[in-house]
Every structure is written in structure tokens, then in C-alpha cells.
Point group: C3
Chain length 340, copies 3
Amino acid sequence: MLAEIVGRLGGEVVGNPEVTIKQVATLESAGPGDIAFLAQRKYRPQLRATRAAAVILAHAERDVTVLPRILCADPYLYFARVSMLLNPPQEVESGIHPSAVIEPGTHIAASARIGPGCHIGRRAEVGEGACIDAGCAIGDDARIGEASRLHPSVVVYARCVIGRRAIVHSGVVIGADGFGIALDAGQWLKIPQIGRVIIGDDVEIGANTTIDRGALDDTVIGDGVKLDNQIQIGHNVHVGAHTAMAGCVGIAGSARVGRHCTLGGGAIVLGHLELADGVHISAGTLVTKSITRPGTYTGVYPLQENSDWSRTAARLRNIDRLEARIRTLERLVADLHGKE
Amino acid sequence: MLAEIVGRLGGEVVGNPEVTIKQVATLESAGPGDIAFLAQRKYRPQLRATRAAAVILAHAERDVTVLPRILCADPYLYFARVSMLLNPPQEVESGIHPSAVIEPGTHIAASARIGPGCHIGRRAEVGEGACIDAGCAIGDDARIGEASRLHPSVVVYARCVIGRRAIVHSGVVIGADGFGIALDAGQWLKIPQIGRVIIGDDVEIGANTTIDRGALDDTVIGDGVKLDNQIQIGHNVHVGAHTAMAGCVGIAGSARVGRHCTLGGGAIVLGHLELADGVHISAGTLVTKSITRPGTYTGVYPLQENSDWSRTAARLRNIDRLEARIRTLERLVADLHGKE
Amino acid sequence: MLAEIVGRLGGEVVGNPEVTIKQVATLESAGPGDIAFLAQRKYRPQLRATRAAAVILAHAERDVTVLPRILCADPYLYFARVSMLLNPPQEVESGIHPSAVIEPGTHIAASARIGPGCHIGRRAEVGEGACIDAGCAIGDDARIGEASRLHPSVVVYARCVIGRRAIVHSGVVIGADGFGIALDAGQWLKIPQIGRVIIGDDVEIGANTTIDRGALDDTVIGDGVKLDNQIQIGHNVHVGAHTAMAGCVGIAGSARVGRHCTLGGGAIVLGHLELADGVHISAGTLVTKSITRPGTYTGVYPLQENSDWSRTAARLRNIDRLEARIRTLERLVADLHGKE
């Protein structure tokens, strides 16, 4: 019921407060029992056509519909909260599956779950309510915090630490060796990677993302960091609390990314750079120098039809010649002016 | 025998039709029993040197060799068909390996194979002739279509659907949570991802590719789509039928890619964009706006020797100053012309 | 003791040679029992503040500290060697875990280790001292060389070959099908991928990297190649010995990368190209043509604040118009000069 939702989450009901709400949905696909939301004005036509039982609106939108509605300050955030209310995380059935292999000396909390085929290394710790899904491998002396969930096929190398309430998706690898090599007469010598990965609380890590262990010191991921899929975090990187990175980002070794930063998909930060708090990097941008002031930074080649691009790229490659022609003109024009 | 091949696949034999053919090969590495093909004129020198037993040529190339040969309209396509004939998919031995863990309520076809160490969730369905290789995890209520093959270590999350005759390579993750987060006073709130991934028939998915489940509605991959390795498909994306993407492509959330599109390696499509049918994106290109007309689109910084690049990049960064100098010249020249 | 280290690795001790050394560390985090190193002059302030028991310096830096020290030609390389001395690879406990599934006809050396939940295919070979960690899948007829280590959840497809002393990190997939498709009346026909992956000796492969099998011939990775995480190597690629690639690099099909090359993070090499020996590609660079001479090559859009970038990108997109304006000016100025 709308009234219950508002009772828990605040906001104002307009219309029938006893409408039954079972699920969240988009304006377009909502049906009876669904609550939808209007986050941007441009979706108003969809609001008119929706079959939702109720909608979530900003206060200013109070009269744009006759549907039962909740008014609030931030409809998207409110919708997120409603969705969490209606879709609580699945309860974990505690216990160790008989097919899991548990090495000596582990501390696995009684309320934790270890799925089929997992391998838990020596002296590893798994906290209360944590869930390690099928086929995960946890290295010796690693620690998984309370209420954290590792989806199937996650690998955590030895000695790495994951905080509380983490969500780690399938295929994630935490603590593989960083890319530490030294040139020795034309051949590469491997440098042992003896640091760890330390991950704070409330971190989510997307599928197939990799976070390398430190070379000497640790790689550190702050509280509340959200990483999308297929991200690569190099050794000794520090990521500040509440920073979010979209898919396919790469952070090279020893870089330091501040707090409350965002990185768009496919962005790359080179090694040893520092990004201040509150820096936003656009998708597809290569960061080649440290950034000391908050703001949005971009370095993206503009998209063109291929034939236009060919012309533009040729001009760009020869931009030096354009400059030379301008210089010649400047000399000639100065000359002409002088002669007047 | 050449004659048998032509009997099945069409084309014209020139030379001895009873030559024995056991395998396909390149012109360069072919030996007795091998059939090679000439797809481009520039490989003619290799044709002269080849030790192949026979070759596949376009009709127009009829007389470029004395080797036994098949003439056809499209040698590359013909070669592909010959290769399929000579290299049929390995037969699946049906049955559930005793080390697999099968939860209650599943429907696993009698002719399907479940490999060692797999975990099949509650009520999951696996179709006739499907093969789930070692160490895969199939979530509750997921469905794998007839004759589909999942290589080792694939993860399919709950409720996701894969069609018939799919080939899914190792390390693929289907249905992990999309990157849905809402800002709540400087911290990120996770938005439950309650949609699914729906994959059509005849789709191939390369190693370590990830396809996220929808936030509310479903992520949809059309029939005949071919995805290479390490591709990331965000939540709510729709990919039209018969579209092909090369390695390392990223498609951000809610983007819609048309039918019969191609995306080159490492291309990125930003969120919520639409690409029309028949759009071709060059490798390494970031797509920052919707594309409504078919064609080829590019946005790639040209490669240069590093010292040239430094100069070019400095000029580019200051291209505004070039424009200002041109503007000044224009004013001065207009001035001079006026004074004549 | 310093004296022991120098006894094994060479170099000159200055100060007390009997200082006990237990571990390597950075200047910043070193404590008693640690040896640190000074690789670049800019870290001298850290040298002054360090609590390290000893340091490794270049001969020229002999007098910059009073700490016990080792003088050598290349402090970084020396440090790498000390680290290997103090951190030898963990000894492998030989034996096949009872939960591993071993198909008929394998050759597993007595001193090798097969971890829990592994699946070893028919006729596969595992060399002396090799270690296959938990949950790996080795295909039929594959070969893993002596003293190689596969971390958990690695997949090696059928018939692929890994040399001696390889280190393969978790999530790596070797030998998945290359992206070979042929267009057949608007639909994609799969071309069977019947080549293999052949990997030399002393190769390291980072987490979630993928190397595809050849279409007809083999994909070949030379001796001593070092690959970071999340790299994609297409079918039929050849990578020359002692080449190193940073994270997220993509090498498209049939490209040939020379010996002693380096590729920065996120670089992409298009298909069928050739890179000479000793070519260095900067991070984030797309290589669109073959490179025949050693050197450093770059193609990276410069980073700017977003508002500056918008202006620059607009000018770049219209660089043709700038050229036209210059041409007009040139005509006008020639005109004026003529009239003098």
C-alpha cells in the first residue's frame, strides 16, 4: 500500500493511499500492482500512457497525473528505496555444502554459507551471514566480512581482505599479482608481489573485474566504492571512499583516485597519477596527468562519418603545416601593413 | 573427395574431382589432403607455392592455377562451409556427471550433458542436446535452450534465458547486476536489478564477456548475434539480430544497437543511445550520440611517432588560438583590401 | 644479512654488513629488518625519513645516507632480485586432490599438484612440479609444462600447449574459439577454429586475460612474454619473445607483434598488422597501420577540462573550414602582394 511505503520512507501521498503495490517498474512496462517513477520531464508522454497503479513524482509535478502518487524531493532516489523495500536480498541458508573443500584452521561463522565446490584456504575467515556461492576459491589467510556475498566463481587470493556487506559478482579476481617486472638484459624479471588487497565496507564489484595485490604495500579500495564490470585496478592503487567507476575502466599501478570521484566507461588513468576528490572523468578518456582540482575532464576524439573523419584526421596529423601557413600569412600581412 | 564437397555445397570442380580432402588449411601451411582458398588477389604468390591438394577460387580465377579446384561465388564463405563439413561439432555424451550438484525442481533433458562440478539451480531448465561443461553455475529458474553449449566456468544468474544452439565460451557471466546506483547524500544506494537477460537463438558469446541483467525490464540479445571476447553489455541494452561485435567492446546501459550492425574492437557506445540498423562503428571509436542512418562511423586519434604526436597534440589543445590568429588575419586583410 | 645478499647477488656493501634483512619494503613503509631501494632521485626525501634497516642505491648515490647500504648498477633490478631471494615461490605439495576429476589417458607427473575440483581432459599432460589450482579445467590433449602454475579457475581448451615455468592467473581463458565468422546472406556463419594456442617458456598471464586459438594455424606467444590482466589476444596472433603488454590491451586477429615490444594499457592493435621488434606503443593508442621501425608511437586525444574540450573538439570537427579560411587568406594576400 502507498500509505505503508510513505510511512517507511517519507513523502506525501496524493490520491488513494490504499492502492496495493507489489513491484517497481518503468512507466512503459508497468501494470496493475506496479509503482513507476518520473525522473525527467521528457518522459511525461509515457506517464500519460502508463498502466501503473501509482507513480513517484517530484513535488513540482503534483498535478501532471490523476494516478495515485507519492511526491518527494528526488523521485529516482525514492524509487531506489522503494525497490529495496520490495526486493530485499535473498535470505542466505547457512551451512557448508558437503562438496566444498575447507582447509585446516579456517574460521567460518555459523550463519555463513559456503556453496558447492568452493575451496576455502587455510586460516581463511568468513564472517557472520556471508555467502560464498558455488565454485569460489578463497586463498589462505583471506578474510571475507560479515554479510558479504560472493557470487559464483569469484577468486580471492591469499591474505586479501574484503569488508562487510560487499557484493562481488562472478568472475571477479581479487589479489592476483600486479604487473611488476624489471628489465634484465632484455628479459623481464618478475618482482614478487607481496602486498595485499584491502577492500572497505559496502563495496560492490562487477563481473570479471580484477583488482591486483600490491607489490610491497597494499592496494586499497575505500568504503562505499562501486565498481562496474570488467574494470582493471593495478597494484598499489588507492581508490577513495564513495567513488564509482563504470565498465571497462583501467587504473594503472600506484595511481590514487580521490573520494567521490566518477569515471566513465572505458576511461584509463595512467600509473602514479593522483586524482583529487570530486573529479569526474568522461567515458573513453585517457588521463595522462594528475588532476588537482575537482571538475569534469574529457579527452575524446569526436565521432564522424568515416569519410569526414578521414579528412579531419589527415588535417589533424598535419596541423603543424596549418600553423606554418598561418605564420607565413602573418609575416606577409605585417609586410603589407608596413609598406602602406 | 572434391566431387562430394561440390555435391553437397554446389560450385564447379575443375581438375581431378577424386582428390581426397581431409582438412582445410591456409595456402601457406596446407599439405597433402588439405584444401585451401584464395580470398584476395594479393595472396596469389602463396597460391603458386602452395602444397594444397586443392583450392577454392572465385569463378574469375579459374585459370590462375593448375591444381584441382572448386570455383564458386564467394571463396571465403565456401571455405567456411567446407570447414563446417569437415569439422562437425564434437558429439555430446549425454548424462549428468556424479560430481555435479543439481538442486530440486530442475528439468534437464535426457540427451543433455552436465559436466563435473557444475551447479544447477532450482527449477532451472536445460534443453535437449545441450552441453554444460565443467564448473558452470546455472542460477535458479534459468533456462538453457536445445543444443546450446556452455564451455567450462560459465555463470548464468537466476532467471536468465539462453536460446537454442548458443555457443558460450569460458568465463562468460550472464545476468550479473547492472550498474544501477543512486546518489544519496554523497553515498551510492544500490538499485535492485530485477530484470533478466534474454538471449535469442544461434548466438555466440566470446570468453570473459559479460551481459548484465536489466534493472526493471530485460536486457535482450537478438537471434544470430555474435559477440567476441571481453565485451561488456550493460543493463537494459537491446542488441538487434545478426549484429557482430569484436573484442573489448562496451555497450553502456539502455543503449539500443540495431540489426546487422558491426562494432570494431574496443568501440564504446554510451548509455541510452540508439544505433540504427546497418550501422558500422570503427574499432576504438567512442559513440557519443545516437546514429539514425546506416553507414560507417569513426572517431579515432591518428597514430604518430611519439615526438610528432607531442607537437600535434599541443597544437590541437590550442586550436582555439589558431582560429583566433586566422580571425585576426581576416580582419587585417579586409582592412588592407578596404584601403586599396 | 647484507653480506649474504651481496655474496649471492654482487654489489658493494657500505656500512655494517651484518644487519639482518628479512623483507623488502618501500622507503616509506619500511621498518626494522626491511631493505628498501632508491630508484629515482625524487624519492631522496623519503630516503632521509626511512626507518629501513638498509637500502639499495646506485653507485653514484654512495654518500646520500648513513644507513647500511648496497651499491649496485641498477637499484630497481637489484631490489627485484633481493625480493625473489626473500620471497621464493611457495612449494607445491604434490598430489591429485580426491575431488578432482581426471579423464582417461592423462599423463600427470608425480611431482605435480592438481587442486580440488579441477577437471583434466583425456590425454592431457601436466609436467613435473606443475601446480593446477582449484577449479581449473584443462581440455583434452592439452599440455602444461614443467613447473608451471595455474591459479584457481583457469580454463585451457583442448590441444593448447603452455610451456615451462608459466604463471597463469585466475580467470584466464586459453584457446577459446577465435572470432571467425563469414557473412551469408545477412547472417553470420561460424568458421570452425581448428588451430591451437602455443605458449612458450617463462610466460606470465594476468587475471582474466583471454588468448584465442587459431582459425587454421596456431596462435603463438613467445618465450618470456609478460601479459597483464584483461588482455585480449585474437586468433592467429604471434607475439614475439620478451614482449610485455599492460592491462586491457587488445590484439586483433592475425596481427604480429615483434620481440622486445611494449604496449601500454588499453592499446589496441588492429588485425593483420605487423609491429617490428622494439616497437613501443603508448597507453590508450589505437594502432591502425603496420609499424616497420622500432620507436615509440602514440595516438591519444589530449585531456582537457570538459568545457575546453568541447570547444577544441568542435574546432577539430571543423578543421576543414579552418583550412579553407587559410586558403582564402592566402589567395587574398597573394592578390594584395600582386597589386603592389
